[in-house]
């Protein structure tokens, strides 16, 4: 595989899951980038952490369940999911309430991930 030419692409998602297209758009970008076998960091900040909450049932609002797709990310070899620990805590959430295992990190770690990235997308 072309690992020597692979770039590190970081996606930062900061939006709630429903009511607009941003969260879905970010997920689609992650899935597309994964097809090209790039190194991917997927970071959830601010209201983006709500995307990961267990127990979503968006069929009640005629929307597709975004959180269901997160559990398929390992098949796309997207294994590095991060949440900003403070943003999680501010919203009364903890890692056990999330649909997938994530790295819960401080802002300093996110700053480092950005520094190690070739490209950063925020949505």
């Amino acid at each position: 595989m072309s690992t020597n030419t692979a770039k590190t692409i970081t996606f930062i998602t900061r939006s709630t899951p429903y009511g607009h297209g941003q969260a879905k758009a970010c997920l689609d970008m992650v899935l597309s980038a994964a097809v090209f076998e790039q190194k991917i960091n997927f970071i959830f900040m601010d209201d983006g952490v709500w995307q990961l909450k267990k127990g979503q049932a968006p069929s009640h609002i005629d929307a597709k369940d975004l959180s269901a797709a997160f559990t398929a990310l390992p098949l796309y070899e997207v294994n590095d999911l991060y949440v900003n620990a403070n943003d999680l805590q501010e919203r009364g959430l903890n890692c056990e309430e999330l649909v997938v295992p994530v790295h819960s990190v401080q802002a300093n770690t996110i700053a480092e991930l950005i520094r190690e990235s070739d490209v950063v997308f925020t949505l």
Partner: protein
């Protein structure tokens, strides 16, 4: 609008790429008719892959692109079947696209 005519005269609406517009219209008979148009004759080897795909879509809500599709088949049906060459023989062309179509899934959006 494109559609698929079933032997019992029912008409199933398709999108411009020949995928089902409404997944709930899917049945094994629909899959066989879609396959016949390619043409592919569905065998048990095809059906087990289509079942894996349908289960994946039910759980995750996405049609897998090529590489995840191959990995998925390897995970659920074993590594002898989770290989591009095996899947290409069953589903000529792009196996992820062809198999998604026959399974009644939307076109994989990240598949090139």
């Amino acid at each position: 609008m494109r559609s698929l005519q079933l032997p019992n005269k029912a008409s199933i609406p398709l999108d411009k790429d020949g995928y089902l517009r409404d997944m709930s219209n899917w049945s094994p008979e629909v899959a066989e008719q879609l396959a016949a148009a390619i043409p592919i004759t569905l065998t048990p080897a095809h059906w087990e892959v289509l079942e894996v795909l349908r289960a994946f879509y039910q759980t995750h809500g996405i049609s897998p692109a090529t590489r995840p599709f191959v990995k998925l088949v390897a995970r659920d049906l074993g590594s002898d079947k989770g290989r591009s060459i095996y899947l290409m023989k069953l589903f000529p062309g792009n196996p992820a696209l062809t198999a998604s179509k026959l399974a009644g899934l939307p076109r994989p959006s990240n598949c090139f």
